[in-house]
């Protein structure tokens, strides 16, 4: 079975600072893969490479087995890659509905706008109530839901989630993971970057641990959970 997404030996960075050193990973259709590691390890950079917000200096990103090197970042949404960025990055002065509509900007998504709208509203009923409110006025949890919903509006085949539980109250975190699980049940493929290592490994199929821009550990979630190396990487013991 070929992978839906494959990152192959990618070097990347900002300016003259190199962040990623030959990162390789795979996400197969229907999986939840989690990317773990401490701050500054290169998780977000990996996601940005996949979306084309930065281009790799070496190596390549393949989607459906084809290289994305020549695909402009704003065309990747059309292929079915959607990112929920860290910190939500909503358009605060647009209403929730407008945020969702713009999520479906590319042509394929625009055609199935109303269907997708129904789908995300079923997933996050709260957004229906807040439809005409400005996104900037939502609570943190609602904003995170809105961000996920916006990404889903583009009808993705692969959803990249960057720290979805960051800064949220525990009860909202639970809801968030529940939603992720629900998406997974519906057949969505996900790549999840998460601080909450325990929760992430609980729902993920497989995981990768990155440290200073290199993949240190990889394997089935269950195996990783019991691997002492993870705890060491996080707590320094």
């Amino acid at each position: 079975m070929t992978a839906l997404l494959e990152v192959r030996g990618v070097d990347a960075g900002y300016g003259d600072v190199q962040v990623l050193f030959g990162v390789s990973l795979q996400v197969r259709e229907g999986e939840i893969v989690t990317l773990l590691g401490s701050n500054g390890a290169g998780k977000t950079t990996t996601l940005r490479c996949i979306c084309g917000l930065i281009s790799p200096r070496k190596g390549e990103v393949l989607f459906h087995g084809e290289s994305l090197a020549a695909v402009a970042p704003d065309h990747r949404a059309g292929l079915g890659i959607a990112l929920v960025p860290e910190g939500r990055e909503l358009w605060p002065q647009l209403t929730v509905r407008e945020n969702l509509e713009l999520g479906a900007y590319h042509r394929r998504a625009r055609r199935s706008l109303s269907k997708n709208l129904d789908r995300v509203q079923a997933l996050f009923p709260r957004l229906l109530e807040r439809k005409s409110q400005l996104a900037g006025s939502l609570s943190g949890g609602e904003q995170q839901m809105c961000a996920i919903a916006r990404a889903l509006m583009s009808d993705p085949k692969l959803l990249l989630l960057d720290e979805p539980s960051l800064g949220l109250a525990p009860i909202v975190v639970d809801q968030m993971f529940e939603a992720v699980r629900q998406l997974h049940r519906e057949g969505m493929t996900l790549l999840l970057v998460e601080q909450n290592l325990v929760a992430a490994l609980e729902i993920a199929t497989r995981g990768y641990v990155v440290e200073t821009g290199r993949v240190r550990l990889e394997g089935e979630a269950a195996a990783l959970r019991s691997d002492p190396g993870i705890r060491a990487a996080y707590l320094g013991i």
């Binding site: 003259d16 600072v17 962040v19 401490s38 701050n39 500054g40 943190g140 720290e163 539980s165 960051l166 800064g167 525990p170 639970d174 993971f177 529940e178 998460e194 601080q195 909450n196 290592l197 325990v198 929760a199 992430a200 609980e202 729902i203 200073t212 821009g213 705890r231 990487a233 996080y234 707590l235 320094g236 013991i237």
Partner: protein, 238 residues
């Protein structure tokens, strides 16, 4: 041992969000105080308040007996509390030697202190170059050298180890230890790279969602279940 830096009930609100909530902190002279906690716990906000770039919503802090609350950043720096930045902010238009000299002179110290700080950080040979030419690790060392050039009593190190490779991280750790042991500077550091903090800090504070949730020696902290929960996350509640 006397207290170098002391804060009481420091809080910062951004709109409805309490980024830092009533933090009490005590840094003893010649010690390293580690400040840890998950992303978004409020560490950087706390630093910004201590360095004077963000006015606290409430609470006070002192250097020795002198109250620093409400002073502008440059006064706090001159008083002897100097910070570094998580995302390095060298003066791009100045050479390395100028970067450190300007810091020394602005705090009323001997300009020669700049040279010494650069030597200390192992950057003296490259003093005529501009910061853009350095690697990230180099710039982090410059950031530290610039702070040291002001002859601070208290150094606030914001993630100086994170983001560099292991060899560089070790070098950095050594530098911090020397700053404490050789220069006698008291240090507060936040750090994500746990081995570094664990090996350096005399005392640890754990922050989560703006609140202090634990404090103690590194050995105590790693065994504290609330810390582990905050750090590694709780199991998903289902």
């Amino acid at each position: 041992m006397s207290v170098a830096l002391r804060a009481e009930g420091l809080s910062k609100r951004f709109g409805g969000l309490k980024a830092v909530d009533g933090v009490k902190l005590q840094l003893r002279e010649g010690e390293i105080l580690g400040l840890i906690g998950p992303n978004g716990a409020g560490k950087s906000t706390l630093f910004s308040m201590l360095a004077g770039s963000l006015p606290p919503t409430s609470g006070r802090f002192f250097l020795g007996e002198r109250e620093l609350t409400g002073l502008p950043a440059f006064r706090i720096a001159r008083a002897g509390v100097v910070r570094t930045h998580q995302i390095v902010r060298p003066f791009a238009m100045l050479t390395l030697i100028e970067n450190v000299t300007v810091a020394a002179v602005s705090c009323g110290r001997d300009p020669d202190l700049g040279r010494k700080a650069l030597e200390f950080a192992g950057l003296f040979d490259r003093r005529r170059e501009f910061p853009q030419r350095l690697t990230l690790a180099g710039r982090k060392r410059l950031e530290m050298a610039r702070a040291l050039a002001t002859a601070p009593k208290v150094l606030l190190l914001d993630e100086v180890v994170a983001g560099v490779n292991p060899a560089e991280a070790q070098e950095m750790t050594r530098l911090i230890r020397r700053a404490r042991d050789e220069l006698g500077i008291s240090i507060v550091m936040t750090e994500h790279v746990m081995p570094a903090v664990m090996s350096l800090a005399n005392h640890l504070l754990v922050l989560d969602a703006g609140k202090l949730i634990a404090e103690g020696s590194p050995e105590q902290i790693v065994r504290d279940p609330s810390v582990i929960a905050a750090y590694l996350g709780k199991a998903h509640a289902t």
